[in-house]
Every structure is written in structure tokens, then in C-alpha cells.
């Protein structure tokens, strides 16, 4: 499954975003990260085949989340469901 990388000057944290290409909150999250110049990777899950979708579902569940978009995973440990700006900022030390 390909992750799309968005360059940014802030590379202190590893940020992975599970998103949908159509979702308003996901677009807001992407814009927020870009605005803060955070480097991140994302996967548009609606564009994946069913095997990969299943992997995403399992990955999110394994980390204690549920399949909802956007799901932001910071440094492979903090999982944030939804565009919760404050939680994302906190995890990124902003």
C-alpha cells in the first residue's frame, strides 16, 4: 500500500494519516498539517483495494482505534480519531 508523502520543514515526528479523498474533515487535517509545515504521509483509504482496506482496519484496531476518518498516528504510538486539532497539536508539541 503506497503512502503519499507531503514534504514539510518540521520532521521531528513521524505522522501518518489515514484519510478519505472525499472527506471534509480529512481535507482540514491535511491543510492544518501543511499550514504548520509538518512533514507527513497519508493514505486515501477509499482508493485502496479490499485487501489493503482490511489491513488499514486491522492496523487501526490494533492501535485501539476504530475505522473512522481522519485517523492520525503520531510516532507510531499516539492515535487520534477525527480532526481534533488540540490533540494533534499536543502530540506534535505545537
Amino acid at each position: 500500500m503506497d503512502r503519499i508523502k507531503v514534504e514539510g520543514t518540521q520532521k521531528d515526528h513521524q505522522v501518518l494519516l489515514y484519510a478519505l479523498s472525499t472527506c471534509g474533515w480529512c481535507k482540514m487535517t491535511k491543510a492544518f498539517l501543511k499550514d504548520k509545515s509538518i512533514e507527513y504521509e497519508y493514505v486515501d483509504v477509499d482508493k485502496l483495494n479490499s485487501e489493503d482496506r482490511d489491513l488499514v482496519n486491522k492496523d487501526i484496531k490494533k492501535r485501539g482505534g476504530r475505522l473512522a476518518f481522519p485517523t492520525t498516528i503520531i510516532d507510531d504510538k499516539t492515535l487520534i480519531t477525527g480532526f481534533k486539532k488540540d490533540d494533534i497539536s499536543k502530540a506534535l508539541g505545537l
Binding site: 482496506r53 482496519n57 476518518f69
Partner: protein, 177 residues
Amino acid sequence: MIKLENVKRRAEMDAKTHGYFLTPDPDFLQNLLEGLKENEERYGYPSCPCRLASGNFEWDRDIICPCDYRDPDVEEFGMCYCALYVRKDVADGAKPIEPIPERRPQAKIDRASGKPPEKKIPPDITGAAKDTNRKFFYCKVCGYVTFREEPPHICPICRAKQEFFEEIVLDTKIKVR
């Protein structure tokens, strides 16, 4: 090709019918309408832009916009899951737009992720009443009947206010002769 204009008109009309408003932020609105258009083009029906659809109509039925969760969500949180449809106080900016919890049952979400779930989903998952607290209500002004958790904000037929709705309590006995 689906026209964005038509997607927009449909949403506007639906909001009007039910006494809701569309999200006040123009960029956010544009994104959601484009999402709906995209989904209608690829699946053949406008499934929710903020949820993962399976592409299987039966499995996606409950998330075709306006989804089954819109009315209780607007009632409880002032906006639907995507924040496309909002209540007046949100449209006026008195209450901010913010993410709300997902009301869709987990079993349905899992099904959309593609592979058949490990445990078999009981067949009554698509049953109308079983997984909700929906009840019947009727409009005392025009007689319109609806089946949902709370009476509608306004009557979509005669525009009477919520106070004019009364719950219908059904007491049925089925006899087999």
C-alpha cells in the same frame, strides 16, 4: 457525469424540507459537495463523503446521503457526521462546527472495509428497527407519519413545528388462525 450544481441543489432542497441548513463555511461545503459527486460517480449513489463505502449498495444503504444518522445527529449535536447539514444555531455561528462521534454501528463499518468479517454478522443487521431506538410519530396538523428517534425539527410536508408531533404507540397482536 454528475453536475456539482445538481448535487448542491439537491442538498439545499433537502435542508429546506427538513428545516436544516448547509454548513456555513463555503470551502468546507464545496469539499463535501465534491465528495458526494465523486462518490455518486464511482458507486452510482452519493454515499457519505466522510465514511468508507464498500461499493455494495446493500451494505452502504444506511450511509447514502442523507444518511440514517443525520436526523439524530443534528438533533443531538447540531450537525451531521460530515457537518454538511447543520442546525440553525450552527449555521448562524452561535455554535462552532466540530467533529462529532460516529453513530454508525461497528459491524456495518467493518463490513465496508472490504473483506468478510471474521464473525458472521447476524442477518437482522439490515432490519429497520432492531438496531435503533426509532419510533413512529405523526404530525397533528397534516397527518404525516415518520419513523425515527425524535420527532422532526419541522414537518417536511406542512412545516408545522416539532411540538405538533405526537408519538404513535403501537400495540399489535398477531394471531395465527
